[in-house]
């Protein structure tokens, strides 16, 4: 964990209610891992906002967030040049060693961004993942082209079929994958675990107090006892969750 002051380069709409925030000044000495998150201080709000890392390269941190409440609404209105106090390198990310030869990345809506960082890192290690992205509507879709540009075989799914395939991500699971990496809404994660026996890892979301393990605000019960989503997670192997 490092406390850094980063400067907004771009903060622009990406899809309906979804924004991409690029922050300059990231300390290159601190390595960030796919699945980790940062905690942003937004002017006028007491608690920080935890947001997972979408990309970190060349001193630029890229975050994609959904404007869901007052805090993220204010964040979405901050202009380039504005400085933000950011705690970086939080949480335990995805375990890449378990990927096998053909991993599958499954993302739903605002849960998709950390999978982009993961896909990049897997490809850097010579592993080509398949990517399955789920959205509610065509207006909410983002990053299909970015995943494709990385060289990952990418399938897009929307609930009513207004773009890509129709249905849930679980309706379009390939048969032969070695390991899954998922992030998305809780019902999607649980449905995914019901739909496949394959080993995998899931990134969870929870309201947090601190984001670094001090307050026990985000604890969940698991098959291996109480775990803090912020410190022991946010990524958990499915058997730890007992799902």
């Amino acid at each position: 964990m490092t406390q850094q002051t980063l400067t907004i380069l771009h903060n622009t709409p990406l899809a309906s209610g979804v924004f991409r925030l690029e922050l300059a000044g990231l300390d290159p000495a601190e390595p960030l891992a796919p699945g980790q998150f940062v905690n942003l201080q937004i002017p006028g709000f007491f608690l920080r906002r935890p947001i997972s890392v979408c990309d970190a390269a060349g001193g630029v941190l890229t975050l994609i967030y959904k404007s869901v409440g007052e805090g993220t609404r204010v964040l979405s209105e901050l202009p380039p040049g504005h400085s933000l106090d950011v705690l970086t390198g939080l949480g335990r990310g995805y375990d890449l060693e378990k990927a096998g030869r053909a991993p599958l990345l499954v993302g739903g809506g605002a849960g998709i961004p950390p999978l982009y960082f993961l896909a990049k890192e897997l490809l850097r290690q010579g592993i080509t993942p398949r990517v399955l992205l789920g959205f509610n509507t065509a207006a909410e879709c983002f990053y299909e082209a970015e995943f494709t540009a990385l060289g990952a075989e990418t399938t897009l799914v929307t609930l009513e079929g207004s773009r890509g395939q129709k249905g849930f991500v679980t309706d379009h699971l390939p048969k032969d994958f070695t390991h899954f990496y998922a992030c998305g809404p809780l019902p999607m994660l649980k449905a995914l675990c019901r739909a496949t026996e394959a080993p995998g890892q899931l990134s969870l979301e929870e309201r947090m107090g601190c984001g670094f393990g001090a307050c026990m605000g985000c604890s969940i019960q698991t098959a291996r006892g109480p775990k803090r989503v912020c410190k022991d997670g946010p990524v958990f192997h499915r058997e730890v969750l007992g799902w």
């Binding site: 964990m1 201080q41 007491f46 309201r207 601190c210 001090a214 307050c215 026990m216 605000g217 604890s219």
Partner: protein, 303 residues
Amino acid sequence: MVNMNVNLCGIWLDNPVIPASGTFGYGYEMAEHYDINILGTFSFKGTTLEPRFGNPTPRIAECPAGLLNAVGLQNPGVDKVISEELPLLRQVFHKPVMANISGFSLEEYTEVARRLDKEEGIGWLEINISCPNVHGGGMSFGTDPKAAAAVTRAVKAVTTKPVIIKLTPNVTDIVSIAKACEEAGADGLSLINTLLGMRFDLKTRQPLLANTTGGLSGPAVFPIALRMVYQVAQAVRIPVIGLGGVSSARDVLEMLTAGATAVQVGSANLINPAACKEIIEELPKVMEQYGFTEVKTVTIAGR
């Protein structure tokens, strides 16, 4: 040079700054961020006899200038605290630590106190009779002078360590509770714990917290904490630890001015992990700015 030393119930602190229970774990998480031996001491996570998971999530809700929490005393239980947490704590912290104890009965308070009394490195027992987030224990002991005195007497009977009773602000007359604890033999008092509050989610029309209600902390409660510390410090002779929304060295100085011997910092640690470090670095400068040369003089002037 500013003299920051304070005597807290017979044990000297290098400075009056103490991270509050529940915002600092058992110390070792925060030690990843800075050398926590710069602290006066810290109060570790509230410990009960049996392991407790606490309340379901959401446990946290934001408020203007603060937060509500309803963690519900999550902790691994006193035996695991002794066997697993304290050895890790001792690796990173080499001063007497404050043990925070919670319970649901007189017997539980005394049993946890008895077990922690034997532990090397524990300086004080801080008895939490003020947790608003559990049912049938916690705060119910802190809202009645007789019950508060009974807990104090029972714990004092099983330990030679100084006993500090942590008081709740959710009462009509905090002075009567403070006096009852003093008369029952308390060595010190800490106040305030959180104020009971709640918030709703307008989309779902349900309370934001799974526990319905939670404890309010943060800068929002600072003036209330100051007022109560002031009232209690005027009424008792034992040391008072002031807490509630303290976020800066100026806030610490204001608490001392209200009559506090030492000051705990809680919520500020959650949004800025270096909060206590920054406060300790800043405190001598702020004291000099206002013409003080030693911390204990500020307290004496306030009482």
